[in-house]
């Protein structure tokens, strides 16, 4: 119970700080919105081809990719905020309190997840007038996946930030990881339309399976193998991400 209370205190502080300076969250949202409005229309005439007849409109293919992208990139760079806090001495000040190390991380991750889910909902609402149609159940489950994905990448980002303690080291590292993850995930276009070798390569990336899962959920195939694999991978990633994060927060102190 104490851990939950401490998590709440840390979350509350982080949330208040985010709300005081919402620019970051707004900027994070502007990127998927730009994809939605400036890139989405290009896909419309290609709907039948890229969804191989499975989807009725382009946004059913495209929006799942965008919310997964939001979950991943929105959370991936939260480590920078932690480095700013570290530099200001806040992490050290947190650590001399008897609060659980897990709570110090979980409170921050929770803030990131809440921000991501709100952003995803806004994105979905923006896509409605453009012709997005998807079943409620599938959309709700997709939001859960986005939340878990966000928790994973936020924990990993905090971990790396705590270990490197330097923006100069963190920036190239994150970008180096983000680029291949994005390209091999089929977020922008489904990998099925690519050549076989690229498809095989993308099979390695768990994110591709997550994106495919969310696409299946948006089509309403909740019990399809694609959506089950997507769920499986996202849960596995979350367990790994949180374990690594918790370990780092514990290890960096006595």
């Amino acid at each position: 119970m104490t851990v939950l209370r401490e998590t709440w205190i840390v979350f509350h502080r982080q949330m208040r700080l985010s709300l005081r300076n919402p620019m970051w969250s707004i900027l994070m949202l502007s990127q998927p919105l730009m994809y939605l409005f400036l890139f989405g229309p290009l896909l419309k005439p290609l709907t039948a081809q890229i969804s191989q007849g499975q989807a009725t409109n382009a946004y059913q293919v495209f929006i799942p990719g965008l919310i997964v992208q939001l979950g991943m990139f929105g959370a991936m760079f939260v480590g920078f905020g932690l480095i700013a806090e570290y530099r200001a001495g806040v992490i050290e000040a947190d650590r001399v309190t008897p609060a659980s190390r897990m709570a110090l991380m979980a409170g921050r991750v929770l803030r990131d997840v809440v921000v991501l889910v709100v952003q995803s909902i806004l994105l979905l609402l923006a896509a409605l007038p453009l012709g997005l149609r998807a079943p409620w159940g599938g959309v709700l489950l997709s939001l859960v996946i986005v939340a878990l994905l966000g928790a994973t990448f936020a924990s990993l980002s905090y971990s790396v930030a705590l270990i490197t303690k330097s923006e100069d080291a963190l920036a190239p590292l994150l970008n180096g990881i983000a680029m291949p993850l994005l390209l091999l995930s089929g977020i922008l276009l489904p990998m099925q339309i690519g050549p076989t070798w690229l498809q095989r390569l993308s099979d390695i990336s768990p994110l591709k399976h997550v994106v495919n899962g969310v696409r299946a959920l948006f089509r309403g195939d909740i019990s399809s193998s694609a959506s089950l694999w997507g769920l499986f991978w996202v849960v596995l990633l979350t367990v790994i991400g949180l374990a690594v994060g918790a370990r780092t927060f514990r290890k960096e102190s006595a």
């Binding site: 401490e6 502080r13 700080l17 001495g89 001399v96």
Partner: protein, 330 residues
């Protein structure tokens, strides 16, 4: 005993190989004492303090801090101590009062009590009207006092202050010293690090001098200064040809050492220079030698450091860029 440490060692892995930042420190701090850790940058002060505050694990050694075992009950230690780090403890964008209340709540202090205690401490530490201000709008001195409020908010028995006045202007330093002395009246025990001699001299009941990860001397400031070979006495001569005669008189004094002259001035060191002086002046006068002036300098902690390590602390402070935060690969 508020702190009792035995054989504390901390080794850091660096790119150039392992570095022993702290090499077997034993120390004891009694309840209600203000104890200062004096040494140049990189001497191991901050590392030792961070070990005692549960922020890093000792490579070896044991310690009891605020009644709890450092290794077995770090949470108990954390409950009993307040730590004011050198780097600060608040986010520049955050509201000062919010930071204080949230910090207190992580110690389990209820929100309303944290807010009331925090505002009272703001008054006590000359921060009136700053409760709702962004931390970055505070002056350097105010931010240090805010850090101290953060460290005190759960009413700890033992307070660690890491270089409390580094980077402050002289007025803000003097003001902070008054506040630190005031902490003693709360019944708190204070353990601070500093590389300022005057600070250690002005604040501490007891000083531990640390160099290259080892404690090289400890005692009260007075006590330590007496370990130096006494006060420095300078006699300025009216007639430079009389220097040998004055040298002879000085050498006959009991306990006079380091007797030197450059013809115009005769210098030496002696314990309790002030009490030796009247007799000395009479002897000089009896031989018809005229003096231009007499000066007696009490030894400073810099002299102590020089005697203990063969190096001046002042030179070290300027020359040593080696910084204790070089612990990236801990």
């Amino acid at each position: 005993m508020m702190i009792e440490a035995r054989g504390l060692v901390r080794t850091f892995k660096t790119k150039r190989g392992p570095v022993e930042a702290v090499q077997g420190v034993d120390l004891e701090v009694a309840d209600g004492e203000i104890v200062g850790f004096l040494g140049p940058n990189g001497a191991g002060k901050t590392t030792t303090m961070r070990m005692l505050a549960t922020l890093i694990k000792p490579t070896s050694g044991t310690a009891t801090v605020a009644g709890c075992d450092l290794a077995k009950d770090p949470v108990g230690v954390r409950r009993g101590i307040g730590y004011v780090p050198q780097s600060g403890s608040t986010l520049p964008e955050a509201i000062a009062g919010d930071e204080v209340v949230d910090h207190a709540r992580l110690y389990g202090v209820p929100k309303a009590k944290a807010s009331a205690d925090g505002q009272r401490l703001f008054e006590e530490f000359d921060l009136p009207g700053l409760w709702r201000r962004q931390c970055k709008t505070l002056s350097g001195g105010q931010r240090r006092r805010l850090d101290i409020v953060m460290g005190l908010i759960h009413d700890p028995k033992l307070i660690f202050l890491d270089e409390p006045t580094t980077g402050l202007d002289p007025q803000a330093r003097a003001n902070l010293w008054d506040h630190i002395r005031g902490l003693r009246d709360r019944g708190a025990t204070i353990f601070l690090t500093t590389h300022y001699l005057d600070e250690a001299d002005a604040l501490c009941d007891r000083i531990l001098v640390i160099d290259h990860g080892k404690i090289v001397a400890s005692g009260t400031p007075e006590n330590l200064k007496q370990q130096v070979s006494g006060d420095a006495v300078r006699l300025s001569l009216a007639d430079t040809t009389q220097a040998p005669a004055v040298m002879k008189i000085v050498r006959e004094l009991d306990g006079a050492v380091e007797v030197e002259t450059d013809a115009e001035v005769v210098c030496f060191r002696i314990q309790r220079g002030g009490s030796v002086l009247p007799g000395l002046l009479r002897s000089i006068d009896a031989q018809g030698i005229e003096l231009h002036g007499v000066e007696v300098h009490r030894p400073t902690l810099d002299d102590v450091f020089l005697t203990m390590t063969g190096r001046s602390l002042r030179d070290e402070a300027i020359a040593a860029p080696a910084d204790e935060k070089e612990e990236a690969v801990a």
